[in-house]
Symmetry: C2
Subunit: 313 residues, 2 copies
């Protein structure tokens, strides 16, 4: 890919194609800007309309698509994926995520804020210039509520956070741990949904990404960038999605949930069995892929991927 | 595609590549056989092992992959998709589904039997020769239990089957109905997960596909083949998955659940938002796609696609 593409709406000089800028992190050195956040040009949702449900006959209900759909343009460079960015650049992206999260939770209609990234054609993205998205909605889906409910049931039963206990147990067993830093654990979860699924979990307990101290975002930038770099090298620049799995905006102080960042490489295709049954066939054990990542990190020359190398050596 | 492919394990003459045949429907006219059912050569599960869960530390549990994974070879012809088969051929496939279902439910370890089909590269299939698969497991996934639970809650509350009520309501409103036959309704469900999602629902109440009268399978064969034919023509041979959504083997007499066949064309890619939030963005309204299918069916010359044409004219 070229460093700059005349026809790319995210490239410098084409800012007029993405109007109503919501946030701009200013330039470092020779760059025109560092990160821009703009409304999605083809938004799935808009802030107009009533959030109340309407009955449609006896069984069916609908509500207008009230919400927000934004794009985080992660870099002015057309051809730099996050795996190859500097730590400072990734930190700026994370700062932009958190600033937008905090701005949007002020709108009391918005209860659930999903921040995610699609990288590579198989991930569902249509633009190659590195970017993430944010969607804020008045509801969490039943699927997501279930995750929260499982954690809350555990808390009610045991009196501790499920994720805090999981981190302790995984660190003891060490089989699925890829790296451990001062603030984070990188692991391949037990019974992973897809091969090479990778979770970055903060060691400290915060239910919401919005509560995570901004001053610690450089720790997240380091482990996130190094994780993506290692996946890039292990799997030859794989397509992936990542999502920040966080509490609803109403439960940010929740003692039972624990935000984390979940990376799902798109190496296989979900087919009829998964769709029909809700069970997932994973052809690679997380214990094996965690070991492959640890070994790969140790093989990098010099000071490449220091977070993973230091943690695993 | 050629009619016969020397290197295809499903083509006649290569039967030795798929040994331990479980079922063969005998030849009609000049065909060597009509349908064959064989074990999957790369099975996700096997019948060896204990189905009990084992603890792994304090939080994690596992069980051996006990179950059955079979392949239904739908036709001896290498190049005939189900959309272009004769009704008799499709009926034979359905008879094979049901025979295998009934044989497997006799094994009391197997509680959940998923029958599904992947068609086209984007559906996750690796072999082009038309085939379906069957997976039988000792458990239903939480995802599927939820479907059953929602229907059971409705039954407890209202005293009627949710799906029976849905059929009545949809037929009254008529917006999402594509076709209605003596035994079946074809509709695009309200708030469809994906564009052109199509459900074939029996009008009569049976919780389980295993309880559906074999004598009525030719009705299903007609509407299934015509639905796939119409999708083939509307969307230029789209990739799709279909699944037979049926009760667990223990609840085949359940008054609250109602089996149906669900077709999901693979026109779009699930991306980070769907993965993270559990909500699905559908860019085409089911009311619009149902109308497109009705119109398309009426445009077919002669007696093509009679089930849909008769029902909609």
């Amino acid at each position: 890919l070229p460093e700059w593409d005349e026809s790319c709406p995210f490239c410098p000089g084409n800012e007029a194609q993405t109007p109503n800028e919501l946030l701009r992190l200013p330039a470092l050195e020779t760059l025109p800007w560092q990160v821009r956040v703009v409304p999605n040009r083809f938004p799935a949702l808009s802030l107009d309309g009533d959030i109340m449900m309407k009955e449609e006959g006896r069984l069916l209900r609908k509500r207008p698509g009230v919400g927000v759909h934004e794009v985080i343009i992660e870099t002015p460079s057309h051809n730099i994926p996050m795996a190859l960015m500097t730590y400072e650049q990734v930190e700026s992206v994370l700062i932009a995520y958190q600033e937008r999260y905090k701005a949007l939770r002020e709108d009391r209609r918005l209860k659930f804020i999903t921040i995610f990234k699609n990288h590579g054609w198989a991930s569902g993205t249509s633009l190659v210039h590195s970017h993430s998205q944010l969607v804020a909605t008045p509801v969490a889906a039943t699927y997501y509520r279930q995750k929260l409910d499982v954690a809350m049931d555990y808390y009610d039963d045991v009196g501790r956070c499920l994720y805090c206990d999981l981190i302790t147990e995984e660190l003891e067993r060490a089989e699925r741990i890829v790296a451990e830093t001062e603030e984070f654990v990188l692991l391949h979860p037990y019974a992973s949904r897809v091969p090479w699924e990778s979770w970055i979990i903060p060691k400290g307990h915060w239910a919401s990404f919005g509560q995570f101290p901004t001053a610690l975002l450089h720790h997240l930038a380091m482990i996130l960038r190094d994780t993506l770099f290692c996946l890039y090298k292990c799997l030859d620049n794989p397509a992936f999605n990542y999502t920040i799995e966080t509490s609803t905006t109403e439960l940010e102080e929740d003692p039972s949930y624990h935000w984390h960042l979940r990376i799902l490489p798109r190496l296989t295709t979900i087919a009829g069995f998964e769709i029909g049954s809700g069970m997932y066939i994973n052809i690679q054990m997380p214990e094996d892929t965690a070991e492959l990542m640890r070994k790969k990190a140790c093989s990098f020359p010099g000071d490449q991927c220091p977070t993973l190398k230091r943690a695993t050596s």
